[in-house]
């Protein structure tokens, strides 16, 4: 755990200094996870802040300090899930819809190895975002945590509160749906 259990207990008791300490320590990790889950840098900070607001209002529901991290991950995936659902409703996930960062990257990618790498990364993120927007939010989150974030089955089973076998089944099905979406995308964009 990145913080002392005492800090969490103090935050649970309403100590704002302890809560601020938790935010300071975990913000980088949450920002990274949210970025991978939602795929858009411009909304990462907003969604991450939402995670901490939810954390503040639900800290009293945390049964044991030992499960703080999986529990924080659960809050993170829930916030990402709500964001993705809202985004799907407004249906603004399309290849043509370039983020600010992508526009800057596209401008910068005129020459040089670093620019090429940057462009490659941008394209990968962009394609991953398009592919994962073709599957459900649940599948997207599970696949991202496992395949992109690199969490183990053990870590995932703590977050999802299910046993590893059940998780394997879920992952298998999610992967199958992602493969189907990938094939469909390839038909639409044969140059990928």
């Amino acid at each position: 755990m990145l913080v002392e259990r005492e800090t969490i207990e103090r935050a649970q008791a309403g100590d704002s200094v302890a809560f601020s300490e938790i935010v300071r320590v975990y913000r980088k990790r949450i920002l990274g996870t949210i970025y991978r889950l939602i795929g858009r840098s411009e909304d990462v900070e907003d969604v991450s802040q939402e995670v901490f607001v939810r954390l503040y209002y639900s800290l009293d529901q945390l049964r044991s300090v030992e499960v703080f991290e999986p529990w924080l991950y659960r809050l993170t995936t829930n916030a990402a899930y709500d964001y993705l659902r809202k985004r799907r409703r407004s249906s603004n996930v399309r290849m043509a819809d370039l983020s600010e960062e992508q526009v800057v990257a596209a401008d910068a990618a005129e020459s040089g190895r670093r620019d090429d790498e940057l462009r490659e990364h941008t394209e990968t993120r962009e394609f991953l975002d398009v592919l994962l927007s073709e599957v459900s939010e649940e599948d997207r989150i599970l696949l991202t945590l496992k395949e992109v974030q690199g969490l183990s089955l053990k870590e995932l089973s703590k977050i999802y509160e299910v046993n590893e076998n059940a998780l394997k089944v879920r992952l298998f099905r999610a992967r199958k749906r992602a493969l189907k979406a990938h094939e469909a995308l390839k038909k639409r964009q044969p140059n990928r």
Binding site: V23, E45, S48, E120, H121, L143, K176
Partner: protein, 111 residues
């Protein structure tokens, strides 16, 4: 399923692991979190009030109706009590007075 697709998906996931640069929090990150916490607190209080106000209005209406009904019942009971307490002669006199508009008593008095 095409085995190439499986391989491509694995490749995509593998290259995605390094494709996300680290994001630094803005200097106002913590301050913004606290501002949102306060904002949520205020809006949840407002929500509580707005959620309860129709119920409070309904309860007020019901209470007013009950009070009005009770007052009406009390006044009716008082009137029936008055009628029950008067003697047979009183009631007969009142009836007779009402029937003749009191005029024959007046004439009888004059004679």
């Amino acid at each position: 399923m095409n085995p190439n697709t499986e391989q491509e998906l694995d490749q995509l996931f593998a290259s995605s692991r390094n494709a996300f640069p680290e994001i630094e929090a803005s200097p106002n990150f913590l301050a913004d979190v606290w501002a949102k916490i306060e904002e949520r607190r205020a809006s949840s209080w407002m929500m509580l009030v707005s959620r309860w106000s129709p119920r409070l209005a309904l309860a007020g209406g019901i209470a007013a109706a009950v009070i009005t009904f009770t007052a009406a019942m009390n006044s009716q009971t008082a009137r029936s009590q008055e009628l029950l307490n008067s003697s047979y002669v009183d009631v007969l006199t009142a009836d007779s007075f009402d029937a003749h508009d009191g005029s024959h008593w007046f004439l009888a008095g004059r004679r």
